[in-house]
């Protein structure tokens, strides 16, 4: 099995998206900043989408882990 790199959890993705949208909602950001936020937001959206599309339940048996340790 290939080692999966540590990515954001969905909870973090949603938290970050929430913050970004709130910031944009306030309407007091400069265009440049809003574009930056947009880019960040869209990459989070893509990350979330691909995580959902590719997800496969990861199951570990604790007794097997402790045996191998």
């Amino acid at each position: 099995m290939t080692k999966v790199k540590e990515t954001k959890s969905f909870e973090n993705i949603f938290e970050d998206l929430e913050n970004i949208v709130n910031k944009m909602d306030e309407g007091e950001v400069h265009l440049e900043e809003s574009l930056e936020l947009f880019e960040k937001g869209m990459s989070l959206v893509e990350e979330g989408k691909s995580k959902l599309d590719e997800a496969e339940l990861k199951i570990k048996n604790l007794t097997k882990i402790s045996k191998s340790l």
Binding site: S9, V21, M24, V45, K51, L52, L57, T63
Partner: protein, 396 residues
């Protein structure tokens, strides 16, 4: 040695009397089998333990007041007397009353522990931990072979396949099951980043579920700082662990459904975020564009060449106005001039000529001949008519 010879019936009858005297109004406990409700109204069954079994009879009048139906596999405490069915020389216990020993005793234990733990504050709403809506890693403490685990994993694969699941196999019934489940909870809570723990098992008898009614487990659940969902048996099964845990699921399947929002739900949320982001940025860009265009227009107006152009334009208008004015004046004059010419024409000689008169003009002097005497004989003159001239000579 003196021989005592009994007839069979005598011996049996005496034994019966002895038995009935020695084992009168006693309790015996065992597991029920071979239940037979006879058409006569009497009830026959066998109770047994691991070594022996005993035939029991409950006569019509006794079993007619039973509040439940006796079933194979029940654990009963039977009250009555030992006796003998003489025709067959068979031992039998004549049962007067029964109580379900397992459930009765366990139910009592359940109730008293429930009251005690309630008083200790283990069920208090304030001590319930909030379950994360979107966990990343969850723990499950249950039997590795049980249907509960299969059900949970099945639902998670379908609904929330992005989760990480750590399974801590545990004994869920029998001796030390409660201790094993408690240890499982403690082990999982020592791991990093476990968001929620499910403990549970599939359906079974109250004895099978009993581990989830034990104080040691209740305390482990209460102490655990990770939210615990208790999912024991079927919807109708309530256990102490259901009351202590932070959330009760009616079944293991339901536990898997409430532990996390579904992929579908999350995808919906993501798409709505995406829409919002796009809307915000495009409206922001639109606003900026409008703003910039306004500024640009303003600047353009202030540009020197534009100032000149606008001056030129106003000069042009002025010029056009003047030209137009002049043209109008000229046109008026023209009209009046033509009028005068027409007037002149009407009073000029041409009109007279048109009526048939003609004018005589001396050919030499080019003067109009007003009287005949102005010309000598053989003088030439020209006669002007309305449409041409005639040459003539004075003859007389």
């Amino acid at each position: 040695m003196e021989r005592t010879l009994y007839s069979v019936s005598d011996l049996v009858s005496k034994t019966r009397a002895l038995l009935e005297l020695s084992f009168k109004n006693i309790y015996v406990e065992g597991e029920v089998s071979n239940v037979h409700y006879h058409s006569s109204g009497h009830l026959y069954f066998v109770i047994k333990d691991s070594l022996s079994e005993l035939k029991c009879v409950m006569f019509k009048n006794a079993n007619s007041i039973l509040r439940f139906r006796i079933e194979n596999g029940m654990r009963l405490v039977s009250f009555g007397s030992m006796s003998m069915f003489e025709q067959r020389g068979q031992l039998q216990f004549v049962t007067k009353r029964v109580e379900i020993s397992g459930i009765g005793a366990l139910y009592q234990a359940f109730e008293s522990l429930k009251t005690k733990l309630f008083n200790d504050g283990l069920f208090s709403v304030d001590s319930k931990l909030k379950i994360k809506q979107i966990p990343k890693k969850i723990g499950i403490v249950t039997s590795i072979e049980g249907a509960a685990l299969k059900d949970i994993l099945h639902v998670l694969r379908r609904r929330s396949p992005f989760l990480e699941v750590i399974i801590r196999p545990a004994k869920v019934q029998g001796e030390n099951a409660a201790q094993d489940i408690s240890a499982g909870i403690i082990e999982l809570s020592k791991l990093e980043n476990i968001d929620t723990i499910i403990i549970g098992r599939g359906g079974g008898s109250i004895e099978d579920l009993w581990a989830f009614n034990e104080e040691v487990l209740a305390k482990a659940i209460f102490k655990c700082t990770i939210p615990i969902i208790s999912a024991v048996g079927h919807e109708t099964d309530f256990t102490i662990s259901d009351f202590v845990s932070d959330l009760r699921a009616a079944t293991p399947t339901e536990a898997a459904e409430i532990i996390c929002l579904s992929s579908e739900h999350l995808m919906g949320n993501i798409l709505s975020f995406q829409e919002k982001l796009i809307n915000y940025v495009s409206s922001h860009l639109k606003m900026k564009k409008i703003y910039i265009n306004n500024k640009l227009n303003h600047l353009m107006l202030l540009q020197p060449s534009n100032v000149i152009k606008s001056k030129q334009a106003s000069l042009g208008t002025f010029y056009n106005f003047l030209v137009k004015h002049i043209n109008e004046v000229t046109e008026l004059k023209k009209i009046r001039f033509v009028g005068i010419i027409n007037q002149l024409h009407s009073i000029g000689p041409e009109n007279v000529l048109g009526r048939g008169y003609s004018i005589a003009v001396d050919k030499k002097t080019k003067r109009i001949v007003r009287t005949a005497s102005e010309l000598s004989i053989n003088d030439e003159f020209i006669l002007k008519t309305s449409n041409g001239s005639l040459e003539a000579k004075k003859i007389k």
